[in-house]
């Protein structure tokens, strides 16, 4: 056996079995993914996210919004504050948890209007939304971090299927012109031609989405690794000098200004994490700052002392977290407006079609072989 035919046989085996094993989970991923691409529109239509009030010249201090939320939730503390002027202009997102908690497991989402510092009622804080439910199914299979790894395995199988498919297609395209749909030669050849042509068309997109899906499967694991390696070291240094996590001496406005003073000009604060959470120290706010373009995604971490307001240090995300952070938009396709979302939907359905018709091709061949074998056994 030559090395070429050995490679072909191996690729055919990988292409067939990786695709077949991944067919059903991939169907679920495609269906949920199609809905999730439009999560902003769906959330807005279902009233999950309140309408953004829009940017206003008159903006109240962040601390007034924090106070409004704390007054309304006396047994809770704020642990997270988010600003997103692009998608939710004029809106402040705040997470609260019961006072003893340091993680986000029991977090509730609240909104305030930046211009008035008044609370805005929305359904996001009340239970799970439709898109939240679908995201948990899509990203974690309702299995938590283990489900994420399962998702990574499915993405890996799709990746292998794509690359091996290209190798399998090589001898085929030597005989049949690219894009030719043979007619009058039975449904099998027609489906095979469709499988090859559509597979070639969506190859780049499917590769990008599968690779990013594979990386996103390691999101929780990578964040945990970063917390244990780098954050835990800083947390242990300040273990004895905690501040009141509900009412730190320095408020969010001072933390924001201090963080911006340590960031390059023109950068914005996207998130503030309160002291005594899993992503901060007992004494420091963790502030995430980002610029525009690529820098908007590759945020920097600024630690602000909650007692003095001084910047204790800045850090860039490690390379593996940068890769995972960049994978998110490339996987969900929500960074290029409606045209990109429509492209995502079209490509998702085309990929789903070739997965289904590939399974049919396998089943049809198997059925014919069985029938042929039976006929041979019956024949004298």
């Amino acid at each position: 056996m030559t090395s070429t035919s050995r490679l072909y046989r191996l690729s055919l085996w990988l292409h067939r079995w990786c695709s077949l094993v991944a067919t059903v989970p991939f169907l679920i991923l495609c269906l949920t993914g199609t809905v999730l691409v439009f999560h902003e529109e769906i959330d807005a239509a279902m009233g999950v996210m309140p309408d953004a009030p829009g940017l206003s010249a008159a903006q109240r201090p962040l601390s007034e919004s924090v106070d409004a939320i704390l007054d309304a939730n006396p047994s809770d503390k704020v642990i997270y504050l988010g600003l997103d002027s692009e998608h939710h202009p004029g809106l402040l997102l705040l997470n609260t948890v019961p006072e003893g908690d340091s993680n986000f497991d029991r977090a509730r989402l609240h909104f305030t209007d930046l211009a008035t510092a008044e609370r805005i009622e929305a359904e996001a804080g009340e239970g799970m939304s439709l898109t939240g439910f679908l995201l948990e199914l899509h990203a974690q299979w309702f299995l938590g971090p283990l489900g994420e790894l399962l998702g990574a395995l499915i993405a890996l199988m799709v990746l292998v299927s794509l690359l091996s498919g290209l190798v399998v297609y090589w001898p085929h395209v030597k005989k049949v012109t690219f894009g030719l749909l043979r007619r009058g030669k039975g449904p099998r050849l027609r489906q095979l031609d469709l499988h090859n042509t559509i597979g070639a068309i969506v190859l780049g997109w499917a590769f990008a989405v599968s690779l990013t899906g594979f990386l996103l499967g390691f999101g929780t694991l990578a964040t945990g690794l970063w917390s244990q390696q780098q954050l835990a070291l800083v947390q242990s240094m300040y273990a004895g000098s905690a501040v009141d996590p509900r009412r730190p001496p320095i408020d969010a406005d001072v933390a924001l200004r201090s963080a911006l003073s340590a960031a390059p000009k023109g950068w914005q604060v996207s998130s503030i994490l309160w002291p005594a959470t899993v992503y901060s120290t007992p004494r420091h706010y963790t502030v995430l700052v980002g610029g525009s373009g690529l820098d908007e995604r590759l945020v920097r971490v600024v630690l602000v002392d909650a007692s003095t307001g001084e910047v204790a240090g800045t850090a860039e995300l490690p390379w593996y977290l940068k890769a995972i952070t960049l994978s998110e938009p490339l996987h969900f396709g929500d960074y290029g407006g409606m045209p990109l979302k429509i492209l995502w939907t079209v490509c998702t359905w085309l990929t789903l079609f070739i997965t289904a018709n590939g399974a049919w091709l396998w089943w049809d061949r198997r059925r014919k072989r069985k029938a042929h074998r039976s006929a041979k056994e019956i024949a004298p």
Binding site: T177, F178, A200, I201, W205, A208, L330, P339, L340, L343
Partner: protein
């Protein structure tokens, strides 16, 4: 298109699509449209090829 030329074309289109996807993420709005065109290039090309092959039969 047949043989090695077809494989090179398919691989090139896939790479251009990926460049377009990353370009849209990285670039400012002025370049967005150009990168979007790169991204949809395989779809456009594939549609044209399918349409031409179907209509010529």
């Amino acid at each position: 298109m047949i043989g090695a030329r077809a494989i090179i074309l398919i691989t090139s289109m896939a790479l251009l699509c990926i460049v377009g996807l990353i370009g849209m993420l990285v670039a400012d709005s002025a370049w967005d449209f150009c990168f979007f065109l790169l991204t949809i290039l395989p779809l456009l090309f594939g549609s044209i090829v399918l349409w031409r092959k179907s209509s010529s039969l």
